[in-house]
Symmetry: C2
Subunit: 361 residues, 2 copies
């Protein structure tokens, strides 16, 4: 009865679609991430890009997180306002507008910033000069994911020398985001960079790794000092596919109403690509998992229509039925919707407009 | 020099990524849509789901639009605050929370709402009773797109009888959204529904069709009285693929900076899936078109990384370069970012936080 009662309350008091966050599950997820980091002896620096919420950040800090990770300056600004004092921006920042903002932020929080090329390092020195404080700069290294990051140890070593020689900057170790189960490449990369720079008298201790699935691989990177996980606070269908989470670990579900049934095999949810977002990964079929109708597939989207293929369902939803969807990828969903409805059991506790929603700069 | 100067201004005063709207092109696009409707003798009822902006809605109304179309109640509420007095919500609305809001909205604007099933009609009657005003209800008919809408003339006829017999509701004709170049099916469907209902003494004149590409097919639907086009105010890569727009007709480009170059064939934009959104359609390759580097492909995304495949580029962008991207589908981009930077030539005119951003209910 709990879920049915909650559905009625959500439909009546909030309306659908709604992003409903079970705080009991959130607390369990935060404790699990913190526990995995503690057991491995690495600092927990959760990535707030997943939730963008000051409230949830504060819960992470209270549970033992050392600091936070942001991907954009705008996120960091919002989190500093919410009380964060130790922020890592794991992203290349460039341009006068961003350097001025970074310098302002350095007054309120200890900032660490990533860099993977000389232009970024040159720019960051300007921010440090403006702030009149030392800026911690971490070399982003690509050890297989083909995203940002230097691809070669030679580039990492050159950047390390440059950072060490630049007034106002302090080399804050290395940042990696290795593919799952590929620690060997990263270990070799890090060892070489460390050894060569040590030969120049440039030493560092910090090694930051990331990713929710990699929480299961803690201990495999030699000398790892901190971990950045984002999705583990909510989990999603991709984290289920990755083997990190079960259905019960998914703290955020999208409550959505069946608003149309076009023939026996089709239905329409009032959540489309503007709510559930068009992301797939890990060979997922369809655009989300419907808890009440596991055989239904969210086959395609219009912006406000989730088009259901019900051909494999025995129990087919009727018009007016409220169902819960676990999104494929939770991070863009929170970013676009911005409003979280917090619940415990069948009680609605509160809502929050997450302050860093849609912060693209 | 105009674009280079503008890029410098955007980078310095706004920062990247930024959604930059050329008002000269917007005005041209609005005039084109209005002109096509005028020439065909159908009312122009632009769909504001594309821009979500009160300012741009007002420009559309000033250019001759009869009213507006919204997909969500939340959009309609925002547009009514911005001065809209004639609003069509082309979507099934359900539930007490939505009926209460609809009833309130009926005090400020003449409302028309779509319905494709009996439950929705029953609900809408409650809103009309609450408002103490007649509510215009339009039957949504699916003539091939397989989205919402009744699939059979029998269902449309039954709904027409139900609406006509329900106190407080007025049958406001039919709504279709036919696939491009498939007017015959729609014409036959509409003619049959009209004839059968006329035999019962139930008559109506209104036929509302939609879609930007269908602006090129105006005249092919017999008795069409209004058209709903959304994307034509901005256009995008999909509208280019559909043959409706050229590059010069795309009013909104995303200014984004190359923040990393991983080896000779890779690069990273500071706009990822949280800015450009992961939508493809019309067999488009890649996630947007880069004006300065047409051979570069935005091959994949992380949330804040646009991963460039530069293997086919002779002229490859360097770190720090600002480029302009025409998104695949503009509507979800505006919805998630919410901030538009208006320019004319190389001048920044103003910015607007679009009020209906992310309105999912």
């Amino acid at each position: 009865m709990g879920i049915e009662t909650l559905k009625q309350r959500i439909a009546r008091e909030i309306g659908t679609p709604a992003l409903v966050v079970d705080l009991d599950v959130v607390e369990r997820n935060i404790a699990k991430t913190q526990g995995l980091c503690d057991a491995a002896g690495v600092a927990n620096r959760p990535h707030i890009k997943t939730h963008k919420s000051n409230r949830l950040m504060q819960m992470q800090l209270e549970a033992g997180a050392k600091g936070i990770t942001c991907q954009k300056l705008g996120e960091a600004e919002v989190m500093a306002e919410g009380g964060a004092t130790d922020i890592f921006i794991s992203y290349n920042l460039l341009g006068d507008e961003k350097m001025a903002r970074l310098a302002r932020l350095m007054q309120d929080a200890e900032m660490t910033v990533a860099a993977d090329n000389p232009l970024v390092v040159t720019e960051l020195a300007k921010a440090a000069a403006m702030a009149g404080r030392e800026l911690r700069v971490r070399i982003e290294c690509d050890t297989g994911r083909k995203r940002a990051g230097v691809e070669t140890t030679a580039e990492a070593i050159a950047l390390g020398r440059m950072i060490a020689a630049t007034p106002g900057l302090k080399l804050a170790g290395l940042m990696v985001y290795p593919p799952e189960n590929a620690a060997d490449v990263t270990n070799a990369f890090v060892a070489e960079v460390k050894a060569v720079l040590a030969g120049d008298g440039i030493t560092f201790d910090e090694l930051s790794s990331g990713g929710t699935p990699n929480l299961l691989n803690l201990g495999s990177l030699k000398g790892q000092t901190e971990h950045r996980a984002g999705t583990s606070i909510f989990n999603d269908r991709m984290m289920m596919a990755a083997g990190f989470a079960s259905q019960e670990d998914c703290a955020l579900t999208v409550y959505t109403t069946v608003v149309s049934r076009g023939g026996p095999e089709r239905g329409i949810l009032d959540a489309g690509s503007k709510t559930l977002t068009t992301e797939t990964g890990w060979d997922l079929k369809g655009h989300g998992f419907i808890l009440e109708h596991p055989e239904a597939m969210i086959a395609r989207f219009a912006e406000e229509h989730g088009m259901l293929d019900l051909s494999r369902c025995n129990d087919r939803p009727v018009v007016g039925e409220v169902v819960r969807v676990i999104p494929n990828h939770i991070c863009p969903v929170v970013n676009v919707v911005g409003e979280l409805v917090y619940v415990r059991g069948d009680e609605i506790i509160s809502t929050e407009d997450v302050a860093a929603r849609g912060k693209l700069r």
